[in-house]
Symmetry: C2
């Protein structure tokens, strides 16, 4: 149970190729934007979510790196790594720090720099989030693992590739009006169907683009939140894990960690699935969108793609997802993506989502995933009445 | 302020070359030992401290890796990275999780596998904890940075190399009776003085050995602690940071983060320096022992080596340090070292340190450092009356 933790402010950098910005400055700019949005000049501690800085930039130990760029003080600054779920995990650990009473106001920032390294190096580095002994040493990459999941899904549930197009199309459509998105050109059905195969049946438009990015949130306890009119409360927060490797799971199409964290977060919040107005899910691949909808409990097994088509996951649908483009089109700077989700959900709940606004949104769920569902971090955010 | 968090049990693996043990199993064994010691069959969450698993073993995402080795459940498992201070930081974040009310009983494990990779790869990987842009890109390694500090210390305070021998000798002496230590052969004055230079004036016996290792602690809230007769309370916990690079500090011989975290932890505990019965400090290099004694406030600037000689840092001295050999001789599996310190301090306070026992120890301080003092995590442990 997390008590009395609210989001006081948010900030984000565009997901893009930030060739001329160091990781330090990329993160610092997102942090300063969040602090300005929160109206605070000082934070008590900084928690950094990151997966790959060492491999991509030669720099680890990001806490002091970013902390000293932001202040002269000697603020606690620690890095949290939950692979591609780091951006969600860092907000959760920062929330726990506030809930513990240790701090009044803290900053959580997710940051990743991935552009500029050769593709193979990036693919290899990302694969470290899978099970090295059981998967990676046999040649598996995340595209390959997700292709296997997609193939299995099509076999088990009698689905076809076309069924997944809805996830790509909705995400890309939402990204067209998000100035911070990496891919703003939309995705026609023809483009989806004729795009080149990455790992059959997974095509180019089934996968998310890597990129540089940083997103930050300022969290505060109830004393600080009381003075902040645009605050959004964290009413549910949970993290669960599963085996790293798919082969160890009784059913690879069931994301147990997603199920457990989503239900735990809803229980904390005292809310039901029908109360959730929008879901920022971890659509690193279209298959993950379907599996997330099912494992979170929004729709029965095997019906994720049908749910998306029939109930609607677009902005005015029954359950809007990826409202600013998701990992799929806003982009997936891996250690930052989970923080982007929380920033975007906050903007939705504050009614500041502009052309991307989901009408009357008062409860949002975010789901940040590491590996093939090995880590899942779910947050439920609620607008103050 | 951390409320009501106690150490219910501890476990450790020998610091050694564990060629035949995977990181997963190395960590799991330390965890199981800690759980057995605590008398618990289940923990609510697992926090992992690690710096280099990706670079050394190709495996990141250690939370689910270790979590699924320990249980079938879907426990929260997240990794904390504060470079060489990860082993202290992970205990702190796990403590905050308990203090927040989110969990009753959690496990914090520090783990590192470093042996078996070529020396240059290890040195390069370790250097990622320094400032890449300002230090590493100019060729600095941690041995080089510590040699510069040692040289500066000798110049500023009119010290000679011999003055540092006390730190090596005490640590190696204490390690002779620690079956979990990496170097158990002692260190004569002659060996210290005639050992080969690593980076002048820093010789072989001024530096700590890398190694594989894992250490774990089970933490619980007061409800669980009340049932545990050998519990040790965490009465102070603080983390502070400084600039990553030495060149940005007004005085490189002053570890500001150590000063701030030590004083904050003492304040929380309501204790004074004179109440501290033993100090597990971060003696990765002998110069860090001197700087730690001074920056923590146990002795004035420039008097660390004299304090060690005159007051005594051996087992029966005024302030015993590195009581099981320290990083210097027990060994320095980087992401685990801070957790070993807490395990060892706990054994001291429980009176279970065997031949290494510090007489009548009731308060211990541990200091885990990342980089050249860029991160400092201080804990104060106290025996239950």
């Amino acid at each position: 149970m997390i008590r009395n933790v609210s989001i006081l402010g948010v900030g984000q950098m565009p997901v893009a190729n930030h060739e001329s910005l160091s990781l330090r400055n990329l993160a610092a700019r997102a942090c300063r934007a969040a602090m300005a949005d929160a109206g605070v000049a000082h934070v008590d501690a900084i928690f950094v979510g990151n997966m790959l800085s060492h491999e991509m930039t030669g720099q680890s130990h990001l806490g002091p790196l970013i902390g000293s760029a932001l202040s002269d003080g000697s603020t606690e600054c620690v890095t949290v790594n939950a692979a591609c779920g780091s951006g969600g995990a860092v907000v959760r650990l920062a929330s726990l720090a506030v809930a513990s009473g240790a701090y009044d106001v803290v900053l959580a920032v997710g940051v990743e720099k991935m552009v500029g390294r050769c593709r193979d190096a990036v693919i290899r580095a990302l694969a470290s989030a899978a099970d090295f002994e059981r998967e990676v040493s046999n040649g598996a990459t995340f595209a390959a693992l997700n292709a296997l999941l997609m193939q299995r899904y099509m076999y088990e549930y009698n689905a076809i590739r076309l069924d997944f197009a809805v996830f790509a199309q909705v995400a890309h459509q939402n990204a067209t009006s998000n100035p911070n998105a990496r891919l703003r050109g939309g995705c026609s059905l023809e483009a989806y169907l004729t795009s080149k195969m990455v790992a059959e049946p997974l095509g180019l438009y089934d996968a998310s683009p890597i990129a540089d990015g940083a997103a930050a949130v300022v969290l505060g306890n109830d004393r600080h939140a009381a003075r902040n009119e645009k605050r959004v409360d964290i009413v549910g927060s949970a993290c669960a894990t599963d085996t790293l490797s798919l082969q160890q799971r009784s059913n690879p199409l069931w994301l147990q960690a997603v199920e457990e964290s989503a239900h735990a977060a809803l229980d904390q919040a005292g809310l039901r699935h029908s109360d959730v107005d929008l879901l920022e899910l971890h659509d690193a691949f279209t298959i993950m969108s379907a599996l997330s909808l099912e494992s979170s409990g929004f729709t029965p097994r095997g019906t994720g793609t049908r749910f998306a088509r029939e109930q609607g996951v677009h902005r005015n649908g029954a359950l809007p997802i990826s409202t600013f483009g998701g990992l799929k089109a806003r982009g997936h700077p891996v250690g930052a993506s989970g923080t982007y989700q929380i920033v975007e959900a906050t903007l939705q709940l504050r009614g500041e989502a502009g052309p991307n606004q989901v009408p009357s949104a008062s409860v949002a769920m975010t789901e940040s995933i590491g590996g093939s569902g090995a880590t899942a971090v779910t947050h439920i955010l609620k607008r103050t009445a």
